[in-house]
Symmetry: C2
Subunit: 168 residues, 2 copies
C-alpha cells in the first residue's frame, strides 16, 4: 500500500512529522522495564502513594497500619516479635511505638511473667482507628487495584509476590 504524503510531492512544503522532535521524545528504556526489580519498585511506589492518599484522614502510614493490624491479631506479643514479623529492626521500632503510643493508639505494659518485655495492646481508640483504616483500605485502596487488574489477575499477582518473598 502506498500513501502519497504532501512531503512526497512537494519537498518545499513543511509537514510536521508524526513523531515529535527527538530532543523532547520520551527516552529509550533499554530493557529497564523488563527488569522485575525496576518494575516492582515503580509499582510499589505508586501503590504506597495511593495508600497514603486514602489514609490521609486517619494519618496512618503503611508501616503504622501494619503494626496496628498485627497487634490486633496477635494480642500479648512483645516488641521483638511484632517488629521481627514486619521486618523492622528492634531499635527502629522504639520510635515508631512512641508515636503510636503518643497518639493513644496502643499501650506498652511490662509483662508480669518476664519483666524485661513489653506486652503491646491496642487501646479502644487504636481498635477504632484500625477498624476505620481497614474499611478505607478495602473500599478505596485495594478495591481500585482489583478493579484495575481484575480479581483473578489481582490474586495471581499476590501469589507471585508471595512466591518471590518466600522462595527467592
Amino acid at each position: 500500500m502506498t500513501v502519497s504524503k504532501m512531503s512526497d510531492i512537494d519537498p518545499t512544503v513543511h509537514v510536521p512529522s508524526v513523531e515529535p522532535p527527538l530532543e523532547s521524545t520520551a527516552l529509550q528504556m533499554g530493557g529497564l522495564s523488563e527488569l522485575l526489580g525496576y518494575s516492582l519498585k515503580r509499582a510499589q511506589l505508586k501503590v504506597f502513594e495511593d495508600f497514603l492518599r486514602c489514609m490521609a484522614p486517619l494519618q496512618l502510614t503503611p508501616a503504622q497500619f501494619s503494626v496496628l493490624l498485627l497487634l490486633d491479631n496477635n494480642p500479648g506479643r512483645n516488641q521483638t516479635e511484632i517488629a521481627h514479623t514486619l521486618g523492622i529492626l528492634r531499635p527502629n521500632f522504639v520510635a515508631m511505638l512512641d508515636v503510636l503510643e503518643g497518639r493513644d493508639l496502643l499501650t506498652r505494659m511490662r509483662s508480669p511473667s518476664d519483666r524485661r518485655s513489653h506486652v503491646l495492646m491496642l487501646t479502644e481508640k487504636g481498635r477504632a482507628i484500625l477498624a476505620r483504616a481497614k474499611k478505607l483500605v478495602a473500599t478505596k485502596h485495594e478495591a481500585r487495584l482489583i478493579e484495575l487488574l481484575g480479581p483473578t489477575h489481582h490474586a495471581a499477582l499476590l501469589a507471585m509476590l508471595a512466591t518471590i518473598a518466600t522462595e527467592f
Copy 2:
C-alpha cells in the same frame, strides 16, 4: 476414625503437642499478606537484595545500573532528562553522577548548543562495566526469577506491574 494417643491413655505422660507452644508460633498476619502494597514491598526488597549480591563483583546498585543503561540508550541527553525518566530529583542526581564520574564510568560535557546543560556520555570503561552488568543481570539475577515463576508468569507479572505503574 479414632487414634488413641499416649496422652489419652495416661495423662501423666507428657506428649509434646503437634503445634509448638503458642509463644513461639509464627504470628497471624491478619490479612496483611493480601494487601498488594505490603507484598510488593517485601518482594521488591528480596529482588533488590539479590540484585546487589549478583552485582557485587561490579559494585553497582540498582539505581546506578539504571543510570548507565539509560545513558547507553540515550546518548546526548542532559542530567535533567535522565534523572526525570528514572524518577530521581535533579539535586539528588548530582552526587550520584559524581560517584559514577569519579569511577570513570561516565563524563559530563558542557553542551555546545546550550552551555547550561551537561551532555552525559559513558566512557569506554563505563560501556565495558555495563556490558558485564547486563550479562550478570540476565544470567544470574533475572534468570533465577524466570526459573522460579516460569517464563509465562514472569511476563504476566511484568505486565501487571507496568499496568499499576502507568494506570494506577
